[in-house]
Symmetry: C2
Subunit: 218 residues, 2 copies
DNA sequence: GTCTATATCTCGATAGAC
DNA sequence: GTCTATCGAGATATAGAC
C-alpha cells in the first residue's frame, strides 16, 4: 500500500537547529559544514537560508541558545526535587562521567568548544555563549541560595562548579578517561557541603548514594 | 647603500610552528588556514609541506607539542624558586588574569580550543594534546610533592588546579571578565594551602602578596 | 515554504622552476 | 630550500523552478 509522505513531527527549522547543536557539540563551529547539517537534519539546503537569512553565523548563534536552554532544563532535572543540593551536585558529576563513557567521550559540554573558537572572532556567537553560561550559573546560584547559602557565596559556588565541570570535560575528552570528572565531582561536592552544612562538626565521608531514576542524557 | 637580504634569526620551520601555535591558540585548528600561517610566519608556502610532509594535521600536532613545552617552561618559572607552592599557585592565577586583560582575552590556554575540536576527529592531535596536559600535570604534581604532599593527593591537587584554570579560561574569554579566574585562584590556593599546611589551626585569610618580578607572558 | 542546481570563494595540497 | 602557479574538493551562499 503506497504511503503518502507525511508531515514530519518536528518542524524543519527545529530539525536544523537540533542537528547544528549536535554537530557543534562534537566538532565545533568551523568544522561543522552546512552540507553536513542538512544531511543530518534531513532538510533541504535552501531551508537553511530561508530560516536563517544571515547564514551560518546566525544559525550558530541560535543553535547555541537552543543548546543552552536544553542544558538549563537538564540542570533543573537534577536539582528539582533532589533530597538536597549536595546530592544533586554529586549526581550531576556522576552522570556527566557516565555520559562521557557511553558516548565514547563525544558528548560533553554542548557549547564550550564553540565558545572558545568564537570568543575572539564572532561577537554575535560569543554573546550567545556568554548568556547561556550566565543562565546556567544563575540557575545554579538560586538552587544554592534555596539551601541557605548567602547570595555572594552561592554564586561563587555556582561559578566554581561550572569551572570544575568544564575543566573536567576538557581533560576527560582529551585523555579519554573519566578520572578527572570524578576528582572534579569530589571537590564540587565538598565545596557545596562546606557551604550548605557549615555547622557539621565531623565531616564524615559520605558513602556513595544510590542515584535517582534515570533521566535524559546529558 | 644596498643591503643584502639577511638570514632570519629564527629558522623557517620554527617560525611556521610559532605562527601556527599562536593562531590555533586564538581561533582553533580548523579556522586557522595554511595561507594565514605562511603570511604570519613570513614563510614560503612550499616550506610548509617541505617541513611537514603529512600536511596540516602533522603541523597541528607539532604545534601542540611546541606550545605544550612552552607552557611547561612557564609553569616552571612560577614554581622554581618560589617561597612556597601556595604562593606559586596564587601568582600563577593572578598572572593568568592579567594576561587575559592585557590581550583582550585572546591569550588563554594555547591548547584547549584545539583539544576540544579534535578530541573526536583526530587521534594524532588528540594524543599530542593529551601528552601536553599530562606533562603539565606531572610537573605540577612534583612541585606539590616537594612540599610534602603525598603522591596521590599531590596529583589530585594538580588535576584540580588544571581544571580550575581551564574552566576559568573558558568563562573569562566568553564573558570578557577576569572574575572567574579570581574565584578559581582563590579555591586553588585554598586547596593547596589545606594540603601543604594541614597542621595550621586557624586558617587566617592571607593578605595578598606582592608578586615577584615580571616574567614571560603566558 | 520546499527543493535543486549552481555560482563563487577559499581550502588543503601539489608540481615544478629556480 | 625557496617560491609561484594552480589543481580539485569543499566550503558558504544564491537563484529560481515548483
Amino acid at each position: 500500500m503506497p504511503r503518502r509522505k507525511t508531515t514530519p513531527a518536528v518542524p524543519t527549522r527545529d530539525r536544523i537547529l537540533e542537528a547544528t547543536a549536535q554537530l557543534m557539540r562534537r566538532k565545533g563551529y568551523t568544522a561543522t559544514g552546512l552540507k553536513e547539517i542538512v544531511n543530518v537534519s534531513q532538510a533541504p539546503f535552501g531551508s537553511v537560508y530561508h530560516f536563517f537569512p544571515e547564514g551560518k553565523e546566525q544559525l550558530g548563534a541560535e543553535a547555541i541558545r537552543v543548546a543552552g536552554r536544553q542544558y538549563n532544563a537538564l540542570v533543573a532535572g537534577f536539582f528539582d526535587g533532589a533530597p538536597d543540593v549536595v546530592d544533586a551536585v554529586r549526581d550531576f558529576f556522576d552522570t556527566a562521567a557516565e555520559v562521557l563513557r557511553q558516548t565514547d567521550y563525544e558528548d560533553a559540554c554542548p557549547i564550550a568548544t564553540v565558545a572558545l573558537e568564537v570568543a575572539s572572532t564572532s561577537e554575535t556567537m560569543r554573546e550567545a555563549a556568554a548568556e547561556a553560561f550566565e543562565s546556567w550559573i544563575t540557575d545554579a546560584t538560586r538552587y544554592f541560595e534555596a539551601s541557605g547559602v548567602g547570595s555572594d557565596r552561592a554564586r561563587e559556588l555556582a561559578v566554581l562548579a561550572f569551572m570544575l565541570l568544564e575543566g573536567a570535560f576538557l581533560l576527560c575528552r582529551t585523555w579519554k578517561s573519566t578520572e578527572p570528572m570524578e576528582i572534579a565531582g569530589r571537590f564540587a561536592v565538598r565545596a557545596a557541603h562546606d557551604l550548605t552544612q557549615p555547622e557539621a562538626s565531623s565531616p564524615v565521608p559520605q558513602p556513595p548514594r544510590r542515584r535517582r531514576a534515570a533521566r535524559a542524557a546529558q
